[in-house]
Homo-oligomer: 377 residues x 2
């Protein structure tokens, strides 16, 4: 069997619960198929350790991730460490150091789950999107500052500098067009706020239309302002398919998308280095949820879906691509089918209106993997 | 009767249709009450004129607005002028030149209209929010640039610089607390993205908590990240009341709020100079809608609601405040009741699922003003 080394960073709170669940499911998947295996390494980079040792990743730690085939990430953030510290010490530098410039966030309504939108509750197929998020620059460049430095000065001024590069915009736009090409509807919606933000956002529009020319006649595309985009998402969900947006805009829109699909607890994300030079990272989009951490009630579905995306990526294929190691693509499909069967049966956590705990959902998915595998044979 | 001079800037597209409708309704209102009158001046600052003359406002035009009691604004934007030009030549400089630092955006579900959220369709009272938007700085500061200047340089870099000042944050936060104090639930939710944006957003959090101390025990408050806020808006609308956010975040959230309330066509906004040094500006939040402009089908409800807010402001009072010229507060209430009666009767434009045109809705609201006035007497 083909062997993959996976580094797990469970992080904080329910990140720990759901990573454990994902490892169990991935183990069942590889045992069932028998054509690939995972060797897991777990790193204890957490807020707890930060408080004890003063760092999340040790010196050279993020560079050290380069030797693995993929990274599986839980969640980071805990009330006693300011969020801008935990994030800038861990998740954000991993994304940029490993050149994971494409963050892919599919959203659809799983069987047995209910959208808060009446239209989608009536017709779940009305919501089927992939949000492609620029993951390396823009509003997350970290630049800016505060002056005067005393927090009590009456006239303090602080800036946030968003940095957009032609190279950075072109590569994510091209990635989004390629994603759209592989989807049945071949439609791409680009989002900016170039009416109010007249420098970086205008460059984004310009580069988008330049790249778009390469896809004329192959992908239908249009442009939305980010504010109007939220309106379209709730009023005409069926009009959208693939979406590309800046780091911040896509952060906001993908949380909204997840909520509209029924729960933020089911939503996956893939932080990809499309060049495959460095390992990509897979994480559910939800946070560490301190209020329910360690109680065994976290929804593991977002973690499983992320795991399925990891398996597909390791096979050299992404959604609908079908290249590479056939049986790993089958395995990813099998896991997605097992998830859908379990939600359809009503084995669901509370956020989805069910009564099951993390372990019950995990065991149910593992059992379904075996059944789906046999049926497909 | 007390006399107010109102300058109307209908702008582009349906801005023209709905400003005309608002002027008719305001005229009916003052005729009915008889204790105040409006003298309207209309300025033709539009994209059409920009194309002919090269400017929206003539030299000194925006300064000239200072002599009016209030500004009524339609919409700006037309496909043949890049949006970042039309907005930066007109709406954005008006907001900042006239110190209109507080943009107030109430949202609720009018009788006879339907929210796309099933929960709110079942219980319309679940959604009753006021979004207070910082309207003078932040992401709309306009700073930043692009280099090298050639649009075809492979390595172009562009920036958007958001500028936040302690003074600017403190005044909008205080305004938001005062707004929350006047609402029955006395609850304020503050929104930032201080986990990813570690300079200006962290200053925002800091200043918020400083100001909040003044309201301890009088207003309940909490903090949300902007991405998670969209989730809360669609999953727990009843948990929110007054909301304060940055220029960009509130722009996005208020469009989402309007859509969740049934249609962007009903949503009002007030651009206020709370010091009353300069005139404030009232405008529906929708845009110029080139696709339906001039067809007589635009929804005038957002324009009427904005007009009601203007009347209330001119009376020296805002929602729930009850100061100032009593009969003008009554007039604002009367207009809101007339609007509600008309939507309840089903006299609605297409965006609300009705069949009526702008004129029919306008005439119906004018007729209702008379009826509501008589009943209240
Ligand atoms: C944790 C945080 C930095 C992160 C982000 O804003 O990117 C999260 O919201 C996400 O969407 O992955
Ligand atoms: C027209 C545009 C500049 C404006 C904004 O972004 O402020 C609009 O979306 C609004 O909400 O008033």
């Amino acid at each position: 069997p083909r062997k993959f080394s996976i580094v797990c960073i469970p992080g904080d709170g329910i990140g720990v619960d759901i990573t454990e669940a994902a490892v169990q499911v991935l183990g069942t998947l590889s045992d069932t198929f028998g054509t690939f295996t995972f060797q897991f390494t777990t790193l204890d980079w957490s807020s707890k350790n930060y408080r004890q040792r003063g760092y999340y990743a040790p010196e050279g730690g993020i560079e050290g991730l380069k030797k693995y085939d993929a990274i599986y990430f839980g969640a980071v953030g805990w009330p006693d460490v300011p969020d801008h510290i935990s994030l800038w010490q861990m998740i954000l530098p991993i994304r940029t150091t490993l050149n994971q410039y494409a963050n892919v966030r599919p959203t659809r309504i799983l069987p047995g789950t209910v959208s808060p939108l009446s239209a989608c509750a009536a017709d779940p197929s009305a919501l089927d999107w992939v949000i492609v998020r620029e993951n390396s620059e823009g509003e997350y460049s970290g630049h800016g500052g505060t002056t005067p430095s005393s927090a009590h000065a009456a006239h303090t001024v602080a800036t946030e500098v968003s940095i957009f590069t032609r190279v950075g915009i072109a590569r994510i736009v091209r990635f989004a067009f390629e994603t759209a090409l592989r989807r049945p509807r071949r439609t791409l919606t680009m989002v900016t706020k170039s009416n109010a933000q007249r420098h970086g956002m205008v460059l984004w529009d310009t580069v988008f239309y330049e790249v778009a020319r390469e896809y004329d006649g192959r992908v239908a595309y249009d442009k939305m302002l980010v504010d109007a985009m939220t309106v379209r998402m709730v009023t005409r969900p069926q009009s959208l398919d693939t979406i590309v947006a800046t780091n911040l805009h896509a952060d906001i829109l993908s949380d909204l998308a997840a909520a509209l699909s029924g729960s933020i607890g089911i939503a996956p994300s893939s932080n990809l280095d499309p060049s495959r030079t460095y390992p990509s990272m897979f994480e559910p989009i939800h946070g560490s949820a301190p209020d329910i951490a360690g109680q065994g009630i976290a929804n593991p579905i977002g973690a499983f879906w992320s795991a399925a995306e990891m398996v597909r990526w390791l096979a050299g294929a992404r959604d609908g691509e079908g290249l590479g190691v056939e049986s790993m693509v089958d395995a990813a499909d099998c896991l997605m089918q097992a998830i859908a069967n379990v939600t359809e049966q009503g084995v669901k956590t509370r956020d989805l209106g069910g009564k099951s705990g993390t372990k019950e959902v995990t065991d149910a998915v593992c059992a379904e993997i075996g059944k789906v595998y046999k049926v497909d044979k």
